[in-house]
Amino acid sequence: MTNHAERSSIGSQPAGEGRGRKSLRKAAAKIGLYAAVLAICVYSFFPIYWMMISSVRPMERLFLDSSLVFWPPDFASYTSLFQQTNYLVNFMNSVLMAVGTIAVSLVLSAFIAYGATRLRFRGKTTLVASMLFAYMFPPLMLAIPMAAAFRWAGLTDSLWGLLVAHLAISLPLAVWLLWGFFKAMPFDLEEAAMVDGCSQFEAFVKVVLPLSAPGLITVGIFSFLLSWADYVFALILIMSDQQKTLPVALASLLGAHDLRWGEVLAGASLIALPLFVIFIFCYRYFVAGLSAGALKG
């Protein structure tokens, strides 16, 4: 300790020279900081950039040319993707799944989370803790029995079956996030509405839900992400090309025809595109959700 104190006091004493060295060190620290920041940006963004730039490279140069910038962009890979594969059908399947997952998990999780914060019953903590537990299940422990049960129920290769699976992965997270949200909301607001003659149900719909819009948006985003990105359940529950969602369709594209890299990268860029749009508009909800889910665990 004393050593350090001494060294720092010696370093700061000689007036002119010391100040010069100090500002030099400050400049070096600043350069170091910006170098680190640049490295982080390149590390995080370059692979995504490389995917997008490769998808608009003329197909005959895709395997020869690795220039970082070029002009003009060429959309042959995209037209080929649309003409030669079921991409649009698969895209619509993915959209359907995402919309269904968002809608159902929002409704169900709102009722469950509200009940869990406002109703009086035993085993509340167990209920909420089991949500956290459920979203850590091995996916295959849900997928194997689902595949067997859906075969029995005639839901093989059906998007309805896949919707059930997507709900099973998104609901626990949705309940968990909304529970934290409703718990933090003071009961006085509903009470005031109920004193004014609202029933509890009306107070929930007219007062609580509008006030929890940020929480609902966060839940919607995470439900969308889980459904949109799901590969495991779609791989196991869907067989025919017509019913496939994007992740599985895209992965099978690479397996089926070798060297279709142009189309594959175009397809991958198109999966990522809606995510980037959401990301730009909903960044703060995303970060809020991440920290709410993680810090409370």
Binding site: M1, H4, R7, L33, V37, I40, C41, S44, F45, P47, M51, L62, S66, S109, F111, I112, G115, A116, L119, L127, M136, F137, P138, P139, L140, M141, L142, I144, P145, A147, A148, A149, R151, V164, L171, P172, Q200, F201, W228, A229, Y231, V232, P247, V248, A251, L254, W261, L265, A268, I271, A272, F276, Y283, F286, V287, L290, S291, A294, L295, G297
Partner: protein
């Protein structure tokens, strides 16, 4: 207070739906693990613990377990080290901070399949960017997917790229909770940046890191899609893990009971490790409960 029957009914109804779509499969999975089913349409036959006995006598099971553990541990270690490092940089003040923070989270947003395709494209032994970069330096590369070490390394690399942003976000939030007075006091006492990190930052991040490591550990151990997309467990089972083994048994060998048994055992192992972990590092929840 009288409780609104509509709220109660909707609550109970939703709980029942939730129970059916999560509890149902879970119970059915455990049930299936006691039966032998040669195909999806065939009759189920009660075999007791035979599936479990067969699973744990299979050397491939333990090989997969060790593989999964190795991949998960190295990925978590790198994610945490890199995540804390990046968070410390992003916590400083610099021009364009909020944009850079957003960019650094981007990979986390990508579906696993996209990240895997990008990795395969860049690492492609014939046409990839890495190949052309290295060949301009006069170095040749082999196919990463044909060697155990490079195949595992690629899995770890892609996991780190995809999920480090989760650690970064949590650590950044955790850094805000450390009082700045502590750093001022340390500076007055003459502690350098390194000492400040060890004695203030790390202890301050303890509760965040305990949770982050737990969550990432669970998710890495259960990871199926990333490994299946990159290597399908190959070359020669060198990247096989318990989830890919369970998939292989159920859907490629049509041994539903065997796959269910592997999934159940891996779940039990995970639950056991989780309990021990939480005993060793209890999550301090008192601050949040109020």
């Amino acid at each position: 207070m009288v409780q609104d029957w509509r709220i109660v009914t909707l609550f109970i109804g939703s709980i029942l739906v939730l129970g059916a779509i999560i509890g149902g499969p879970l119970v059915y999975a455990i049930m299936l693990s006691f039966y032998s089913a040669k195909s999806f349409v065939g009759e189920l036959q009660w075999v007791g613990l035979a599936n479990y006995a067969k699973a744990i006598q299979d050397p491939l099971f333990w090989h997969s377990f060790a593989n999964g553990l190795m991949i998960a541990l190295s990925a978590i270690f790198l994610q945490v080290v890199l995540g804390v490092g990046i968070a410390l940089v992003l916590n400083r003040k610099f021009f364009g901070q909020s944009v850079v923070r957003a960019v650094s989270i981007l990979p986390y947003f990508l579906p696993t399949v996209v990240a895997c395709l990008i990795a395969q494209w860049i690492l492609d032994p014939n046409y990839g960017l890495l190949k052309s970069l290295l060949s301009s330096l006069g170095i040749g590369i082999a196919d990463w997917s044909s060697h155990a070490f490079t195949a595992r390394g690629t899995i770890v690399l892609v996991s780190v790229w995809l999920w480090t942003p989760f650690v970064v976000t949590c650590v950044l939030a955790g850094l805000q909770t450390i009082p700045t007075q502590l750093y001022e006091a340390a500076r007055v006492d003459g502690a350098g940046p390194w000492r400040q990190f060890w004695h203030i930052t790390l202890p301050g991040l303890r509760s965040v890191l305990v949770v982050v490591i737990l969550l990432r550990g669970i998710w890495m151990f259960n990871k199926f899609d990333l490994i299946w997309l990159l290597t399908k467990g190959g070359p020669l089972n060198q990247t096989e893990t318990l989830p890919t083994l369970a998939y292989r048994k159920s859907f490629l060998e049509f041994n539903l009971g065997g796959g269910a048994a592997v999934a159940t055992i891996s779940f039990l192992i995970l639950a056991g490790v989780m309990l021990i972990y939480l005993r060793l590092f209890p999550i301090d929840d008192t601050k949040q409960e109020r």
